[in-house]
Amino acid sequence: MRKGSPNEPINVPYRQLTFALANAAAVLASLYIAFAFDLERPYWAMFTVFIVANPICGAVRSKAVYRFFGTFLGAAISLLLIPPLVDAPLLLCIAVSLWVGACVYLSLLDRTPRSYVFLLAGYTATLVGLAVVNTPDQIFDTAVSRVEEIFIGLICAAVAHSVIFPQSVTAQLNKKIQATLRSAGAWLSESLMSARRPADAHAQQQLAGVITDLHLLYTHVAFETSDVPRSRGVMRALQERLALLLPCYSGIQESVAALAASGKVPDSVMRPLEAASGWLRRAEMPETDCSFQYSNRVEVESDTISVENRRQNPLDWRGLLELSALTNLRKLTVAFTDAQVLAATLTNDRLKLPPHLQQEAAAAGRVPLHRDRGLALLSAFATAGATLLACLFWIEGSWPEGAVAAQFAAIGCSLAATLDDPSKLIRSAIIGILIALPFAALYEFAILPQIDGFVSLALVLSPAILLFSLMQSSERLGGAGLVLAIAFSGGLALQTTYRADFAAFVNSNSAEIVGLLVAIAMSLVFRTIDPAWNALRISSSGRKGVSQLAMGRKFDLRTWTIQMFDRLGLVTSRTAEMGRPQLASEEIDGLRDLRVGLNTATLRDVGGKFGSACCAALHGVLKNVSSAYSSGFGNDRAQAAIEEAIDLGITSLGTEAPSRTVTDGLAALIGLRLDLAPAMSRYAVPRIL
């Protein structure tokens, strides 16, 4: 980064202060503009700023765009739904609830920040639509002013956060990638030399989480200021390389463990491992020249190749294990070097990529993350149900503030829909509202009557605004700050003329809390998910993915790997949270599934290059793997069948003339055998030879 650039990383307390200043400026500007245009509810502009506020400039801008489209869509839908149904309140409520549910469903299928569009489209329809059922002739004006108020807030936030001390997402991305590469290098360099240790699980979990984090963080880049290079292909390739590190490493571990089980680990394996370990410890990101990285790696690789050539009997079990360990080591060093080079080019677009990466980086496809339609449907039902229930209270109880309850039931369920236990978040939102209310009441009934004009209003409000903004800038207090800010702005409900009405203040705020309580009740009944159950569900969808990869007609290995790694991250974060890491090894082993998948993909690649006998043997392996993964394990006969098929594959591939392809294929078969065949079974050298 250039010296003196406004995006230069600066120390944290200063960072937080500048963020709070920018945010306060945006809030006051939006209030001023909304007052100047004489809009109906200027406080909507005010809390919109708080909602999109984020220390990263690109994230503010992306959320602003998503929020605008979501609001627009929601307002449009309410224009469509309300006028024809306004005379049939029950039908209207059902229609609105179904719409909210459908939007939650769609938003859960998209796990990127874009999902916000659907969420907002859902609950904006309730915010606009349910507020005007008593005066349906005003619906158009209400819809337009909601969109206008939110638009003003969005523009103010986006401009303020990109002009006043902006922090670009690249700084954050860089920091994250460099930290990941450094810690992965250090961890790999240590663990290559030692047997499995307890620290492994933690490091694996971190690495698994980081790839999805990078994916989500990178979605903001498209919305950054125009100077940030957009290179989704590079990012995607980087994610895939990072995802390869773990399966390659664990493949080495498996082979070395199997070698150790049948005698001493030979020097021909230990020496390259030591060399690679030393290399990984010294590995640095390239600053100027990428080719240097590759020349550095060659030393490690030449050791590997010499062992491959020295092998005497191509089908001896220990020899095959050595081969598998070294092939995985080669893949590991290649992936790590690629990752370093890609990471360097990601931020410095004047750095040239080596030819083998160039083509890959140019192909910029979208990678869908893991999605769970069943759970999404369940959340959609819970949300629609909560909204409808609150609506029924409203209609049956002829409770004038009931609309607010229905709105808040929809908001609460929508925003918490991604969590395993949504009620926890909604509970803390209620606590936030309860804390903010006295604050808002103090302003509303004690301070605001004393003041006159915008300048004094700004002066009076700025301490509160600055405080909330400061809270938002810290990671720990961020959520609490947001809830407080929204509850405060909503409670204050600033309008052009001062109207203090204690009864209305209490009524509408208690309706908010009732709505959230309904949301909690519905979530507790329908949407509280045991994380272990969810982890099992995710991993079983991963197994289905493996089976499809083995037998499906078309496959895209890159997409598959990233998706699989995403699942691994989801599962490990859940099992670690429960403090039940043993579950991971007993019933779910996402890493094994990932390894099996990568090995089957290699076999599919290799299979086409040989004669029909060999091709048929490999096809038999793929078929067995696929059926084992689609029907589940634990069946002794199926395991014996897999073992037999793999042994046949090894025999027929081993008789081909030695080449890199054969080596890769054999290593993949050994990997499969270690993972899928019964434990302790040993491949016997066939007698035909």
Partner: protein
């Protein structure tokens, strides 16, 4: 140029149309500047983008006043 555009019975201010046109122009200019690696001469990209947008808005507003784009009254 502060006329109103009648789109299906909804009156849309001319300035809004000009603002949309300016936004598209700014994106195109920003994209080409990035492709040409010209942003390394820019100190503060966010500020530059906002300023660029205001210039473009001025251009769009002038054009709509002089050439009466899309029937702006």
């Amino acid at each position: 140029m502060i006329g109103e555009l009648n789109i299906g019975g909804v009156f849309v201010p001319g300035l809004l149309v000009a603002a949309l046109i300016a936004f598209c122009l700014t994106s195109v200019v920003g994209l080409s500047l990035r492709r040409l690696h010209l942003y390394r001469f820019v100190w503060h990209a966010g500020l530059f983008d906002v300023a660029l947008y205001i210039v473009m808005l001025f251009v769009a507003a002038l054009a709509s006043a002089n050439w009466n784009i899309a029937g702006v009254k």
